[in-house]
């Protein structure tokens, strides 16, 4: 949390401290074992390959903070990629305008999720499971399952391939969105409401907070950034396909939860999410650079296996640390002075 609050320190510092340790361990290990791991090119490569999932994780975080979930962001990425192709190739709209239109469609699709969840009070898991299929199905219907859009303008493709100050463009985009989300969550009343809703939706309502509007905001934001990720994806692969972003939603959720955000809502930081994204990105890319693994071609399989293990160990470790802290607190409370009125 942005304030120096001992409560949040004890509650949140732990999972992040563990993650930082894991990240450093990964970097040291792959530097020693991996081929060409410690190069600027490889670093750029890691950023390129994880920017889209990273973006989705950043907007998944506020949703999970409110106690919700969005399974549809990966499918929406696919739909937006295809729509961007339609806008540029079939409707012959200029690229900047097509990109803007794609972002609007993404936000509207997020609004559909948010509207169903808050308007009809349906569970987020069910609504976004529905739109998960709906968005992907639409994308496949538009491309009839086979068509891909290619030949985008070079200026647009630069988004996926050029660097500025050594960092790929999408890396800068990720940083910008991370800062924006972090400010939103930790420095504004929006984030405060997300947290209150995550801890107790009823309690937030009794405090007069605009609970439904705040919840809807998180899904609109997710839709908008999913569209942004679709543009990045299209620029990186130089093509727009209906299967773009398949399974990304689960990887984004993994990064958020790994980053210390409670799946039950209320607890979490954007910084933790960034660390979670970095841990997964370095792990999955680094494995492919170990000669023995690269030779067998099992890098991505091993990557998802170890990501899963990391998630479970991080959560188990967090629970363990919490119970140890609770035990220590109990012991200390025996000697602790009673609270006095502040005068």
């Amino acid at each position: 949390m942005s304030q120096p609050a001992p409560f949040f320190k004890t509650l949140l510092a732990r999972p992040e401290a563990v993650l930082l340790f894991v990240l450093v361990a990964e970097l040291v290990f792959f530097s020693a074992v991996g081929r060409n791991f410690n190069t600027a090119d490889n670093f750029a490569n890691i950023v390129r390959h994880s920017a889209e999932i990273g973006l989705l994780a950043l907007v998944m975080m506020p949703i999970i903070l409110t106690g919700g979930i969005d399974l549809s962001v990966g499918s929406l990425l696919g739909l937006c990629a295809v729509l961007f192709g339609v806008f540029t190739h079939e409707w012959h709209i200029a690229t900047p305008l097509a990109a803007a239109l794609t972002l609007v469609v993404g936000a509207a699709a997020g609004g559909l999720n948010g509207g169903l969840i808050t308007g009809l009070r349906l569970p987020p898991l069910i609504v976004t499971l529905g739109t998960f299929s709906l968005f992907r199905g639409l994308a496949e219907a538009i491309t009839k399952g086979t068509m891909t859009y290619k030949d985008f303008s070079p200026a647009f493709l630069a988004l996926g391939h050029e660097r500025a100050l050594g960092l790929p463009y999408q890396g800068w985009l990720f940083i910008a969105i991370a800062v924006a989300i972090s400010v939103l969550v930790h420095r504004t009343t929006f984030g405060r409401s997300f947290q209150a809703i995550g801890f107790s939706p009823e309690g937030a309502r009794y405090a007069g907070l605009p609970v439904q509007r705040r919840i809807a905001t998180t899904y609109v934001l997710a839709g908008f950034v999913a569209a942004l990720a679709a543009l990045v994806f299209t620029a990186r692969l130089r093509q727009a396909r209906a299967d773009a972003g398949s399974g990304y939603e689960l990887q984004a959720i993994t990064a958020v939860v790994l980053g210390g955000t409670s799946i039950f809502g209320g607890v979490g930081t954007v910084g933790g999410t960034v660390l979670g994204v970095a841990c997964v990105a370095v792990l999955t890319t680094g494995l492919k650079l170990i000669p023995a693994i690269a030779l067998q071609g099992i890098g991505s399989e091993l990557g998802s296996l170890l990501t899963g293990a990391l998630l479970i160990f991080a959560l188990a470790g967090g629970v363990l640390a919490k119970s140890l802290a609770a035990r220590r607190a109990r012991r200390q409370s025996l000697a602790k002075p009673q609270p006095q009125p502040i005068t």
């Binding site: 009343t189 405060r192 801890f199 009794y206 405090a207 007069g208 907070l209 605009p210 502040i342």
Partner: protein, 484 residues
């Protein structure tokens, strides 16, 4: 706090024994002890002349003790016969289901209590009283000798009540002992053989119904001294802040409520549990908006459709359920205190941690909240201090009308006195206060006027210096007889 103190209670076979008492007098606790849900920490329980120790729910059932609750706990998708069979039969997993036997037994049990219900009906198609009858049939089938009925008529119509009474009389004729809990005095006189009154966890007395009248029953229920000392009223009520004209909400069971609360006035809202007091507060705060009538605040009609609108209009509500609604336990005290004033304290939605901390420290001082500091989570405080945080959140909104729902429930004596002083001070400063309380001495000691609710509407409007007897009589719906 002891919920029960040395209560003696006996029940004969073939008797209806009524149990009467105010909210919190210990009726529920006594029932929990009898059904084995709670372990008594002293005394003896004897069933059929045999002393039982270590009563558990399972052993209580085996001894023939059954409890019929207001909300029957049946499986709605199964038939009546299946529900009865599930309760009664100890079957192994692979035993064949004998449908004919199950239906025959259900029909027999339902006939025994004179209920005309087809055993093949799905329970979801039954009305509430019919479901209660199924519960009673289950109890009989399990060989119950003692049947406890906890306010069984609370949601019944007149006709359904008569049906239920007939069943209770039938049970009595068959030699079953019935413990009958009700707030409705007329039922007790119509049905019971003896009545025991509980007050503050103690038995005030057991009398044959034939030897007692309603007035003396009410006296037994309330007859205690106002022990706590309440701060004296200092304010003279000013202009009308809140006026309600025929306000109702079908979903909340509130109808045709009209009252006025003035600036500087503490209006006590008394009544029994289920009389519609919290429901009225929820209407005023926009949680379950009114569907009829007018809410007028400072002469202007307000459509309170949501808590946000209520807050904007200057209505503040400190809810009854502090831990679920009043305070977010996981969040810091400061965040809790500023939660209802985000737009004012944080212009442009930017959090200002310095201003928040300063405001929290002010209220911590002003209300003497015992805490390590504004960053401590709400859950780290005692009940009374949590209540002060909930109060601070709403005082920060500078409301015109403050609704307090059981402001001192579960609060220790010291904090209770402090909260009373705070409420008085607020009234003196010109706030209109609507105070819901089940604590009769509190209502009497704090209120300038007392509105008594019964059956979802205002049953009586009494002056603040009324006595406990009058208020309780109005809450029970016996104003004429009680005054005699």
């Amino acid at each position: 706090m002891r919920a029960l103190k040395e209560v003696s209670f006996d029940l004969h076979a073939g008797e209806v024994h009524a149990l009467l008492g105010e909210n919190g007098a210990g009726k529920s606790t006594l029932i929990k002890v009898i059904t084995g849900a709670h372990q008594p920490d002293g005394g003896r329980i004897t069933v059929g002349g045999v002393e039982v120790s270590q009563l558990t729910p399972a052993r209580a059932r085996a001894l023939g003790i059954a409890c019929i609750y207001q909300q029957p706990a049946l499986f709605p998708d199964l038939s009546v016969a299946e529900n009865i069979a599930l309760r009664l039969e100890k079957t192994s997993a692979w035993q064949r289901v004998r449908w004919a036997e199950i239906a025959r037994r259900a029909r027999e049990l339902l006939q025994r209590i004179g209920a005309e219900i087809d055993p093949a009906t799905e329970v979801r198609e039954l009305s509430m009283p019919e479901q209660q009858l199924v519960e009673i049939a289950c109890a009989l089938g399990a060989g119950a000798r003692i049947v406890i009925m906890d306010e069984p008529t609370a949601s019944l119509t007149q006709k359904e009540q008569h049906l239920l009474f007939a069943v209770v009389r039938e049970l009595r004729a068959q030699g079953v002992g019935v413990i009958y809990i009700s707030h409705r005095l007329e039922e007790i006189f119509a049905l019971a053989d003896r009545v025991t009154v509980l007050r503050d966890g103690e038995s005030v007395g057991t009398n044959p119904v034939a030897a007692i009248n309603e007035a003396s029953l009410i006296r037994m229920m309330v007859g205690r001294e106002v022990s706590a000392i309440y701060p004296p009223a200092e304010s003279a009520p000013g202009e009308v802040v809140l006026a309600l004209c025929g306000v109702g909400c079908a979903a909340g069971g509130v109808r045709d409520v009209s009252l006025e609360v003035r600036a500087g006035e503490i209006m006590g809202l008394a009544g029994l549990v289920g009389a519609g007091r919290t429901e009225l507060a929820r209407i005023l705060f926009g949680i379950t908006p009114a569907d009829s009538g007018e809410i007028i605040l400072h002469g202007r009609r307000v459509a309170v459709a949501s808590p946000r609108i209520a807050v904007a209009a200057g209505i503040a509500y400190v809810p009854e359920d502090r831990r679920r609604h009043g305070v977010i336990l996981e969040m810091p005290i400061a965040a809790n205190m500023t939660m209802a004033i985000h737009p004012r304290l944080f212009p442009g939605a930017w959090l200002r941690f310095g201003a928040e901390r300063a405001l929290a420290l002010d209220y911590i001082r002003e209300l003497a909240v015992k805490t390590f500091g504004p960053e401590a989570p709400g859950g780290s405080l005692s009940g009374g201090n949590q209540q002060k945080v909930a109060l601070a959140r709403w005082l920060a909104t500078q409301p015109k009308l403050l609704i307090l729902d059981e402001p001192t429930q579960g609060v220790d004596v010291g904090a209770k006195g402090e909260i009373h002083k705070i409420i008085r001070r607020l009234a003196k400063d010109g706030l209109a206060v609507l105070m819901i309380s089940s604590d009769l001495p509190e209502v009497l000691g704090m209120s300038d006027r007392i509105a008594v609710m019964r059956g979802g509407t205002i049953a009586a409007m009494l002056p603040g210096h009324s006595d406990a007897h009058t208020v309780m009589a109005a809450a029970l719906g016996q104003p004429g007889k009680a005054a005699a």
